[in-house]
Subunit: 424 residues, 2 copies
Amino acid sequence: MNIGILGFGVVGGGAYHVLNKHAEAIAQRVGCRLAVTKVSDIDWQRDRPGLPPAEVRTDNSLAVVRDPEVEIIVECIGGVRPAKEYILEAIGTGKSVVTSNKELMAKHGAEVLDAAKAAQVDVEFEGSAGGVIPIVRALKESLEGNRIEQIVGILNGTTNYILTRMADEGLSFEQALAQAQELGYAEPNPEADINGDDAAYKLAILASIAFGKRIRIEDVYKEGVRGITPADIEYAKGMGYVVKLLAIAKNAREGAEVRVHPALLPQAHPLAAVKYEFNAVLVRGDAAGDVMLYGRGAGALPTGTAVVGDIISVARNIVRNATGRVVCSCQGEATVVPISEVEARRYVRMRVKDRPGVVGKIATIFGEEGVSLNSVIQQESRGASAEIVWVTHKVAERRFARALERIGELDVVEQATHVIRVEE
Amino acid sequence: MNIGILGFGVVGGGAYHVLNKHAEAIAQRVGCRLAVTKVSDIDWQRDRPGLPPAEVRTDNSLAVVRDPEVEIIVECIGGVRPAKEYILEAIGTGKSVVTSNKELMAKHGAEVLDAAKAAQVDVEFEGSAGGVIPIVRALKESLEGNRIEQIVGILNGTTNYILTRMADEGLSFEQALAQAQELGYAEPNPEADINGDDAAYKLAILASIAFGKRIRIEDVYKEGVRGITPADIEYAKGMGYVVKLLAIAKNAREGAEVRVHPALLPQAHPLAAVKYEFNAVLVRGDAAGDVMLYGRGAGALPTGTAVVGDIISVARNIVRNATGRVVCSCQGEATVVPISEVEARRYVRMRVKDRPGVVGKIATIFGEEGVSLNSVIQQESRGASAEIVWVTHKVAERRFARALERIGELDVVEQATHVIRVEE
């Protein structure tokens, strides 16, 4: 069975390597040999290890898609254009597709999966959400006998690496980012990781499968990690929490909550132990209870593993004439609760003038706006100003924002406050 | 599509409940309605919630197996007899089977899976190894592009519950066991959990899939948890370890290591945080790196979830005329390294007479037998005797046993020593 790979970057190269290394074992398991006969890339001059032989290399992706000998197209280009056209064209000619493209699946998954269903071909995308973690298959197959109530994940390895280094070594955000870039855990342009885009794409994909309704990427609320300081991490530690960038989806009766933001998480929470570049997803099903999956969320071989798992699954379906065996079963779009209505606990750190009555004034405003307080810590003053950390009980975004606005107007508050949600 | 369930105990009842509760959603996903038309049990008098209607209940399992209207047999009886005959008969008549029977699959999986392959039907057994954790599917499909190097798991919820209560509350083994029985985490006869049988069955199943060679249950070395005392757990804690019942399989060049025994595990190890009745499996693949799956290893609904996931998978294959899509790909039996040759670090606690030169005498014997020491702790004496805890470097069982025998013959050693392996 012939396979064409589009894009020979980190993931495409990893998949190619894994397929070749274990060709014998895979052939024996699938009952047919999988041969990569075409690999396209726009730049074969760039130095990379393990290049395919010259007769396999091409710079013409469309020719790979249209090659009548190729039965499975593996898309590892990334981004919407031109990947989407290639995938739709492949589906249109009756080919099955494996992709690791999270941006495409998050933005246009509905269109791609509807086309696949109509054409009775497979489109598999395990590598697009959580790297090596077999979470897509778990949601689509193993946990199908459940109503999935919520997903909480650490879905971005770059930011988890940065936050781990900040917590363990007291590095600043900038120092930790520089280290991550040096060691290859962050890209030269890390914006999509840092600002939460990457995690939001993955969350939209996973929540759509889990809830059986499509989540529009525009409806995923997101905040990045740039504002997190070592001081916040230290305060959190003192109160028994770690700081993580969480991706949260809840399947409530009134609609879905889908949000990506930094959060304080209790040290005993299963996700709190997920460190460095590792990712993890905690799924709660009505029958299954809590199920967690953990592994490397990025990298050539881990993501290559996920892609190859998908290729094998598709190949088995082709052998048995059963492509389209598991189709997208989403029914319509999800109603998403606006972030202004989402309730959460909050950590608030602020610098105030060290004067009598300040704590009382601020607490009074919180009270007047219906923000109930769980704890307050005031550190010893430094000169004429003092630092206060509040932790609130659950409160809707809307109410909390109004309280914060009024507090900001007090002349005793010296500096913009740091706010981080607190999850259980 | 009609389904027959054999055995209406915890798992059979759980699967029945889950199938009925989500019948609509499942029908929509599979493309065909799944109806449980027969449930057999030897005792319908026993009071249970959610009994099937009278026309579905029967005490004749063989009649269910032979019912020509039933397409999938779900075996939840447990044990080898009569479950094995029922399953083989079902396969022989072209029916696919879902089972949660770990003893049967560990002891006779080869025979059952060979029969399934010959008949081109499915035999799925996710619920037999790790409850809700989708580890069988992960090994059979998602991680197939890997050479699996090792599996380390906490595969028995009863013993993990007991060890957690001992560690967190200082309970004795007997107290913790009594609590576990009271709360339903241990059976009235807990022997198969306590002595390691249950974990050994699961490990044999998982290691066979992971390594592609069949592991004979007789070749799995096992030690139970009955000898673990609060004192051992306290010493371990002081040295930065927790005590867990581990199931370990390593795929070494010279053969497979497969063993179930208590072990000291560093507190930072991902499995150290797995508490109470939860199970977890850490798999290491050559490309994937470390992947961990975590969830409830037992219980009606969690195991029912795993069984229903399998039923859905089989139903999809039947719909597409693709049963036998993923067959057993084991090639022959594994060569298993005898436990006498397996190297491990060891924790050794002993009570000795408080006399000058005792530590030196014992250390000398360790040295003479080639047992290299990592650390030694001697507590303040209690009367005329003192307690010493040694931690060794890696040493083969054989050598270590010889040293221990010689040490036991010293007249200064007062009591049988406690030995626990130490894993990284």
